[in-house]
Symmetry: C2
Subunit: 229 residues, 2 copies
DNA sequence: TCAAAAGTGTTCACCGTACACCCATGG
DNA sequence: CCATGGGTGTACGGTGAACACTTTTGA
C-alpha cells in the first residue's frame, strides 16, 4: 500500500511484560523459558509482538494471557527500549510494561505455567537481550510508584492482614519499616476497611483482615487527597 | 529479508516532541504549522519518524533540530501513544518526548522558527491527531517531575534570579508561592550558588544571580539526597 | 501457663506554612 | 527623598521517626 508516509522505515514493535508477584513474603518476578529462536531455551521476560489491529495495552494483556494464562491483571507502560541492536535478529522496539499480581490468588489459572517460573528478585537468572536492564528499570519504577499510588494492593489478595501489607512494602522498598508507624500511617489514609474477620493461619490470636476501599479512595481523590507512604 | 520474525506486523514509529519553553514570565509550548499532508497547514507538535539506524532518543534530537534548529536540549521520553487509528493515514505508534528550553537563550538559533511559534499554554490552538491529549499528558508529567527533579533549571538561562526561578515554578505548577518560603526552601537544598553579580534589569537595587551547581547536586545524590520542592 | 504473634501511644525533632517589615538604589 | 522591587526571620501546628509493653489464645 502506498501512501504519504510510504518512504519511511518501519519496525517491529514488541511488548515485554515484567510480571511482579507477591506471595505474602517476597517480591518475585515471573520469567519464562523462551520456546522459539533466537535464544530458544534461555530465560526471558514475557514478550510478544504488537499486531495491526490492537493498541499496546491490548497487546500486553494478550501476550501475558497467551504465555502464562494470567488474566485480569494490573499493567502499566513504563518505558520504551529502542537501541538499534537490542534484538540481534531484527530491529525491534520494545515497549515495556510491568504487571502486578497476587501469586496465590492466581495459582489456579496459569495453565501454561509449566514454562514460566517465579524468581525472587535477588535470585533471578541472567536474561537475554536487554531484559536485565528492563527488569532493573521496572523495579526502580515500581519503587517510585508504590509510594505515591495505591498499586500495592494489586499484589495482595482481596483480603489481607496489616502484616502482609507491611511485608509487601518492605519487599518492594527493600527496607525494614516500623510496625507501629506503618499501621498508623496506613490507617490515617482512611482507604482501608477493617473486616470483622481474622486470619488465624499465622498466630493464635489471629490478625484482622483488611480490604482496600476503592470508593473511599476515589472520593478522597476528588478532594485533592494525595496518596503517600 | 526473511527471518525468524518475518510473519509479524510492522508499524511506523513516530517521535513527537512537546517543547516547553520559559521566558521568565510564562510557560509556553512550541508548535509548528505542518507543511506536509495529511493535515497540512494545521498546528501540530514537532514530530517525525524513527529511522532504521537511530534509537528513539537520537530521533527525538534530530527531529527537533530539523524542524526548529534547536540543539542541545533536555529531552525525556514520557509516554507511548498507540491507538489503532490515531493517525488516519497509516498505523503509527508515537513515542512522546518533552523538551525543556530557555526561550531567550535559544533565540539566535532556531533558524527555522518561521514555521514554529511559541504559545502560552492557555492560548494554544487546537492540534491535530491526538496531540491535544499528548500535550495534556506532557503538562501533567512535567508538573509531577519538576517537584522531584531539578529539571526546572533547564528552562532557565545559566544565570538566573530567585524571582525567575519562582516564576517558573509558579507557571508550571499553576499556583502562587510565598517568596520567603520559596527562597529558604531553595537555599536549604544547597545546590545553587549565589554569584557576586546582580541583574539590574528589573529594579534599582538589583537582584542576585544564581547558578545551578551540578557537582554539588551529584555529590548530594550520592549521599541519598532527595530533591523535593 | 507460656510462647508467639497482634495490637496499640507518646514524645520529640524537624519541616512546611503563614505572615510583614526594612533595605538599597536610581531617578 | 521617595518609589520600586529585593531581601530576610519567626512562631506555630503538623508530620515523620524512634521507641516497648500489653493482649490474646492455642497448645
Amino acid at each position: 500500500m502506498l501512501n504519504k508516509y510510504s518512504k519511511e522505515d518501519k519496525a517491529l514493535l514488541a511488548v515485554d511484560c515484567i510480571v511482579f508477584g507477591f506471595d505474602g513474603e517476597d517480591l518475585k518476578v515471573l520469567l519464562i523459558k523462551r520456546d522459539f529462536e533466537p535464544e530458544k531455551g534461555k530465560w526471558s521476560l514475557i514478550g510478544g509482538f504488537l499486531k495491526k489491529e490492537e493498541d499496546l495495552d491490548k497487546a500486553a494483556i494478550r501476550v501475558l494471557d497467551h504465555l502464562t494464562g494470567l488474566d485480569n491483571v494490573y499493567m502499566e507502560q513504563f518505558y520504551v527500549f529502542s537501541k538499534v541492536d537490542r534484538d540481534p535478529e531484527e530491529r525491534t522496539i520494545s515497549v515495556a510494561y510491568y504487571a502486578l499480581i497476587d501469586i496465590d490468588s492466581h495459582n489456579n489459572e496459569g495453565t501454561h505455567l509449566e514454562t514460566a517460573k517465579w524468581f525472587s528478585l535477588k535470585e533471578a537468572p541472567e536474561l537475554i537481550f536487554d531484559y536485565d536492564q528492563m527488569l532493573d528499570k521496572a523495579v526502580a519504577s515500581l519503587k517510585r510508584t508504590i509510594k505515591i499510588n495505591p498499586i500495592g494492593f494489586e499484589l495482595l489478595p482481596d483480603k489481607f492482614t496489616m502484616l502482609q501489607l507491611q511485608n509487601l512494602y518492605e519487599s518492594v522498598l527493600d527496607e525494614k519499616l516500623d510496625k507501629r508507624n506503618f499501621t498508623s500511617k496506613i490507617n490515617a489514609l482512611g482507604i482501608l476497611v477493617r473486616l470483622n474477620e481474622k486470619d488465624k493461619s499465622s498466630s493464635k490470636k489471629g490478625s484482622y483482615l483488611y480490604q482496600f476501599d476503592t470508593n473511599k479512595y476515589n472520593e478522597k481523590l476528588k478532594d485533592g487527597f494525595v496518596f503517600k507512604i
